[in-house]
């Protein structure tokens, strides 16, 4: 395959998978949020913040997309790996891997949405559990953060700016 295929697949999978997962997560939490706001409008602020938590995975995906586009030269300048030689193929395959790592660990947005939705229900009953609810939801994000760290290491050491 040409290097461009690897690079664009990497960028697309990072932002695409993570974004889709975030959408699922926000969706699950949003349904719960709509319910508790109907009970009491005061829940809006707390529910909104909890609902927003599964969104971060899509941001990690977006950052990875931009980094991949930058290091490969698509953004600013020109595509660096046009020649189909082994060196360029290795580098672009590493970018595909980095994108895939972020995309797959970004799936953690779905369970995070489930946790957030339970948190929203709990906050409606007892507003004091707000911070605890956030921390519980943040636990699920750890995997996405590890994925981002891994991807960054792959990009920086494997390809470099």
């Amino acid at each position: 395959m040409d290097p461009i295929v690897y690079v664009s697949l990497g960028a697309a999978l990072a932002a695409g998978l993570a974004g889709a997962a975030s959408a699922f997560g926000v969706g699950v939490a949003g349904a719960a949020a709509a319910g508790v706001v109907a009970e009491d409008e005061k829940n809006f602020k707390n529910a909104l913040i909890l609902e927003g938590l599964p969104m971060t995975q899509s941001i990690y995906g977006l950052i990875t997309l931009f980094l991949i586009l930058m290091v490969s030269g698509i953004l600013g300048g020109g595509f660096k790996f046009t020649a189909n030689n082994p060196d360029n193929i290795v580098k672009s395959a590493i970018l595909l891997g980095a994108g895939l790592v972020v995309g797959l660990t970004g799936l953690s947005a779905i369970p995070q949405g489930i946790i957030a939705s339970a948190g929203i229900g709990a906050v409606a009953k007892n507003p004091k559990t707000f911070t605890q609810g956030i921390i519980f939801a943040a636990m699920a994000e750890t995997m996405a953060i590890f994925g981002l760290v891994g991807a960054l290491i792959m990009i920086v050491t494997g390809v470099g700016f």
């Binding site: 913040i49 971060t56 977006l62 931009f66 943040a138 636990m139 994000e141 760290v149 960054l152």
Partner: protein, 659 residues
């Protein structure tokens, strides 16, 4: 600092006649936590009739408050009110025993309650009346299809007239059955109306008995004919006139309510607070022990308050009291309530400790440590000078506005303010001002590291900080356990990890010198062996599994600090994405109009504000998580009982009282 406030136990026995004033003194003073006293030979105390009255009046008054609150004129509101809320004035009340207070409340209620109830009743009845008139107008509109004088639709001496609606498909069989039952002595007038039929049935009085069950069987919905003469159209005009009059009446009643709110709201809230405090005061009565003449109570208080409280009790009881203040026993260690004690700069951070759980009495209070580490981690994860500045400005305003209340908003803003300083410092080190905005604009920004180009340096920094944080936690735990005489746990749970961390550090720092390598390996090895022994001592046979899982648990905790790097890069990344988008759009112009600059500016401001919000949320959550999960996991239980003093809530009232 580092230790919760020292507590002592107080025991008081005195005469029953001083009970009310002693409890009032303690309630207003608010430094003693009263505990249940179990004495076999004495019975428990219980609330008397005045206490019960206080509870019932607090409900009565809170109903009045709810009503008046709805009609209170709105003052200010908006963002200024949020940042600088006005202080509420406190009214003084001279307390001369609960009997007098209840009498005062009764005379206040006797004056105010009928006035408020009258207006409230007026508003409710007018609203019901308006609803009724609206209903009749709707009926008349329905009847207007018939265009008959409504007086013809009322029953007379001879005739029974029924007006109602029925489903259209039921109408025909209904007519047939009615005609059959009354042997044709029925007149039926009907009009189609949507999917229903409006029908008027006229029977002889004598036939009504037969027809009525049939009407019910076909579920005819009867219509009450509104009062008045003339066709429905004429009557609607009359009723609308009535409606207008009633609405004016409602408006004037609401004006009265507003005037009452203006006049009495503050007073009503004042008495509500007085009554609620009396009610709360009586909740401790069942914790006291009593005889015919005397009562006894016990509780905890901070050592620093002892002289003041002793003096107060003596004054209140005119010296006729037995008071015993003593040190806590060994077995009472888990009973002692915990009041955190920190210098002013760390006090708002107690909120974060309390959210997790306060320390046990013999544990260390981690507030001073997390004051520094939490703020630093927050700054590391946000890492942008301008973001720090924005947060600092908002937080400083809120701190200024809420300081006098010492409320949650003040504490949280204070933690944000401290964190924002670290954010600015980290931002300057990484040369990040709205991300790479200045670089894109063509300026040379001084920086020690670049977030993206030196990403690996950032990762190494993050892991080094993590190791230091964990080492701090294990060391603190080691010292605390050693001090508390728990040598086994100190040597087997805390020390191994300290040695392992030291080993790792020596190995990493001394990669080039063989002697350092040996020392590092030795430290690591000893640590690992101690750890294994600890696991075997603690868990016996299960140790084989737990050694593996606990060791990798430690590795996981350590690697978890990589989030410091990831979130720092996420901030820089989001800012960069926004900046690149703005740069793309900047040069666009339609003819001579530089539309790109306008849209670019909007995008820049909106985007960066979004980025501050989402990244600050991330930094808050993950910095807190590193404290709660990774750091506290090394040494802290947080299983103490928080100090809940017997204290009156005074927002709008102040008690003047002499014993």
């Amino acid at each position: 600092m580092f230790r919760p406030e020292e507590m002592v136990k107080i025991e008081v026995i005195t005469l029953n006649r001083y009970k009310d004033s002693l409890l009032t003194y303690l309630h207003e003073n608010g430094v003693v936590e009263i505990r249940e006293l179990d004495v076999k030979s004495a019975q428990k105390d219980s609330p008397n009739e005045y206490h019960r009255k206080a509870a019932s009046y607090s409900i009565t008054i809170s109903r009045l408050v709810d009503f008046l609150k709805a009609y209170r004129r709105k003052t200010g509101g908006g963002i200024k009110e949020f940042i600088f809320p006005p202080e509420r004035a406190r009214k003084k009340y001279r307390y001369e025993g609960i009997e007098k207070l209840i009498k005062d409340v009764e005379s206040f209620l006797a004056q105010v309650e009928p006035e408020i109830k009258a207006v409230e009743g007026k508003i409710t009845s007018t609203q019901t009346e308006i609803e009724r008139i609206k209903g009749e107008i709707a009926v008349l509109e329905l009847l207007s299809a018939l265009n008959l004088d409504v007086s013809y639709l009322r029953s007379t001496d001879m005739l029974e007239i029924v007006v109602g609606t029925v489903d259209r498909n039921k109408f025909r069989p209904l007519v047939e059955e009615v005609t059959r039952a009354t042997e044709n002595r029925a007149v039926i007038v009907s009009k189609d109306f949507k999917d229903k039929v409006l029908a008027v049935f006229v029977f002889l009085k004598s036939d009504y008995e037969k027809a009525n069950p049939i009407l019910a069987k076909y579920s005819l919905e009867r219509i009450e004919i509104p009062e008045g003469e003339g066709t429905p159209r004429e009557l609607i005009a009359v009723y609308e006139e009535k409606l207008r009059a009633k609405e004016e009446e409602l408006e004037s009643a609401k004006k009265d309510a507003e005037m009452l709110a203006e006049k009495y709201y503050d007073d009503v809230v004042f008495y509500q607070e007085l009554m609620e405090n009396e009610r709360d005061k009586s909740t401790v009565l069942p914790m006291l022990a009593r005889t015919n003449m005397t009562f006894a109570m016990t509780g905890w208080l901070p050592r620093a308050n002892v002289p003041e409280v002793l003096e107060g009790i003596k004054r209140v009881t005119e010296g006729k009291a037995y008071i015993n203040v003593r040190e806590p026993d060994e077995e009472e260690l888990d009973e002692i309530p915990i009041k955190l004690k920190n210098p002013g700069w760390a006090r708002p951070f107690e909120m974060l400790t309390e959210m997790y759980g306060v320390p046990k009495y013999d544990e260390i209070d981690p507030t001073p440590i997390i004051t520094f580490t939490y703020s630093f981690f927050f700054g590391f994860m946000l890492t942008d000078f301008m973001y720090g500045l924005i947060i600092a400005i908002i937080a400083a305003l809120l701190v200024k506005g809420h300081k006098k209340f010492n409320d949650g908003t003040y504490k949280f803003s204070y933690t944000l303010l401290i964190s924002s300083f670290f954010t600015m410092i980290m931002g300057a080190i990484f040369g990040s001002y709205f991300g790479n905005a200045l670089d894109l604009a063509g300026f040379t920004v001084p920086r020690v590291w670049d977030t993206f180009k030196d990403a690996l340096v950032v990762l190494q920094l993050a892991l080094a900080i993590g190791l230091a944080h964990l080492f701090l936690g294990y060391t603190v735990g080691f010292i605390v356990k050693l001090k508390n005489g728990d040598k086994k746990s100190a040597l087997l749970d805390q020390l191994p990890w300290m040695l392992i961390i030291l080993g790792i550090v020596t190995l990493v720092l001394g990669t080039n010198s063989p002697s350092a390598g040996t020392v590092g390996k030795a430290l690591f090895g000893i640590g690992l062996i101690l750890f294994a022994i600890g696991e075997i001592v603690n868990n016996g046979g299960l140790a084989v599994l737990l050694i593996i899982s606990d060791f990798f648990g430690f590795v996981g905790s350590w690697l978890s600090y990589a989030r410091l790097m990831a979130l720092a890069l996420a901030t820089a990344g989001i800012a960069m994405v926004i900046n690149i988008l703005v740069q793309m759009i900047w040069g666009v112009s339609i003819g001579p109009v530089p539309i790109g600059i306008v849209i670019g500016l909007i995008l820049f401001v909106g985007g960066q504000l979004f980025s501050v919000a989402i990244n600050a949320l991330g930094a808050f959550v993950h910095s807190l998580r590193l404290q709660y999960v990774e750091f506290f996991g090394t040494f802290y239980s947080g299983e103490g009982k928080p100090f809940e003093p017997f204290r009156a809530k005074r927002e709008v009232s102040e008690l003047e009282f002499e014993a």
